[in-house]
């Protein structure tokens, strides 16, 4: 094995297999947005602080601005575009709407993916667990209260 500057990768995104040649320096977030045109995943701070670029890779929430696209070769990636089935809202999306859990909406895709990661691993979280789960996602509009309520409501809807 010798190091390469670019390589062909195959990534399953929202259940669909994509093959592309990418440069090693390409970040996963740019692969999703610019190569696959999945622009729901946002770039906020580009320093790993804000969480707007959060996606789920092989079942784990990660910040896609701190992962190389080549590192996702062979992985299963979930983005905001895959959250709800076609034309319908996921329980979390419906709850965010009902509880006014967004204002400008920039952080929302990342917030929703962190919330999904939480409920995938812990279907009945406490308020403290919800707050810890979105610690890596910064929202400058809402003050988080409605986001926490929305996630709690979505969890209850899913438990029913």
């Amino acid at each position: 094995m010798e190091p390469v500057r670019g390589q062909r990768i195959a990534v399953e995104v929202n259940g669909e297999r994509h093959e592309r040649h990418v440069e090693v320096r390409r970040l996963l977030v740019h692969f999703l947005r610019d190569d696959l045109d999945l622009t729901g995943t946002h770039v906020g701070c580009d320093t790993g602080n804000c969480g707007a670029c959060t996606v789920i890779v092989d079942g784990m929430a990660v910040k896609s601005c701190m992962m190389l696209a080549v590192q996702a070769d062979g992985c299963r990636v979930e983005t905001i575009e895959g959250l709800g089935p076609d034309g319908e809202l996921h329980a979390l999306q419906q709850a965010f709407s009902s509880f006014h859990a967004l204002q400008c909406g920039y952080c929302t895709p990342g917030m929703l993916m962190s919330a999904k990661h939480l409920l995938d691993h812990n279907p009945e979280p406490t308020e403290a667990e919800i707050r810890r789960a979105i610690q890596g996602n910064i929202c400058r509009c809402t003050g988080y209260v409605n986001i926490v309520e929305a996630i709690a409501a979505a969890a209850k809807a899913e438990v029913k």
Partner: protein, 266 residues
């Protein structure tokens, strides 16, 4: 941000990783990437070759060997905080891991990366120093072990030389020892302004202070408040000043955080 052009290899064995690190000047291991990716964006690091360790399952194991806890360098912070072995043997380690940054960072960030980056504000350098951990380093010449006292050499610098790889962190069983940790972070679970880890055995405390020097500052004293304060004063700390705290304030916090870490161990 666009990274500078860089080469990449993802080896499937530690031997191959060590060969790649030795064969290319400017090669660097890529563990969780939660520090390295960002310093590459900022052009503060410019490796020529990234040797991605993420396929090395042999570095992801957590095991008990004669009571000691052995952590593979690629154990993520999320795996560490969920580990039954760690929770049973040295629960403080899991507790500290749960306060590093946030879920996403803990899902990718690794024990080895946290230690090897040796940012003075990182959580784990003082923890492994206080616990008296031993690091196993693999290189072209074979394997060597380095104690925590000799491992941290300076800001962002450790005993792991170019061409070498940290493979394992061994934590002593700690029979009859109680562990504690305390910090003053910027916001809950944020970057530490000052932190301290402590182990207490038979009334004697071993304290490692973080964020106050280039490497963790180790102190030993009686596990009593007055003795701890005296030990910290006697260390003649010369911490940095920055926007979060002046040197004087860090010195003040060091005493308090050291006392709290010892109390936490009780």
């Amino acid at each position: 941000m666009l990274l500078a052009p860089v080469e990449y290899a993802r080896p499937s064995s530690v031997d191959e990783a060590v060969r790649l690190l030795g064969a290319h000047d400017g090669a660097r291991p890529l563990a969780g990437g939660q520090t390295l990716t960002n310093v590459m964006k900022a052009r503060a690091a410019a490796p020529d070759v990234l040797v991605d360790l993420n396929d090395l399952d042999e570095l992801r194991a957590i095991s008990r060997v004669d009571g000691d806890v052995e952590l593979g360098a690629m154990v993520t912070l999320s795996a560490l905080l969920r580990s039954a072995e760690v929770g049973e043997a040295r629960p403080m380690l899991a507790e500290v891991a749960s306060h590093v940054a946030d879920v996403q960072v803990r899902n990718r960030g690794t024990v080895g990366g946290n230690i090897c980056s040796n940012d003075p504000t990182n959580h784990l350098p003082p923890v492994v120093a206080a616990l008296g951990a031993t690091m196993t380093i693999r290189g072209a010449e074979g394997e060597r072990t380095v104690g925590a006292e000799e491992f941290f050499l300076g800001v962002y610098m450790t005993a792991v030389a170019p061409g070498e790889l940290l493979t394992k962190i061994s934590i002593p069983a700690g029979h009859g020892v109680r562990d504690g940790f305390a910090s003053v972070p910027i916001g809950k679970d944020g970057t530490c302004i000052v932190n301290a880890a402590a182990t207490v055995r038979e009334g004697q405390a071993r304290i490692a202070l973080g964020c106050v020097a280039a490497v963790p500052v180790l102190l030993t004293c009686a596990a009593e408040e007055a003795a701890v304060r005296e030990a910290v004063q006697g260390a003649a700390l010369d911490p940095p000043s920055d926007v979060h705290a002046s040197a004087d304030y860090r010195r003040h916090l060091a005493e308090i955080v050291a006392v709290r870490a010892v109390e936490d161990a009780d």
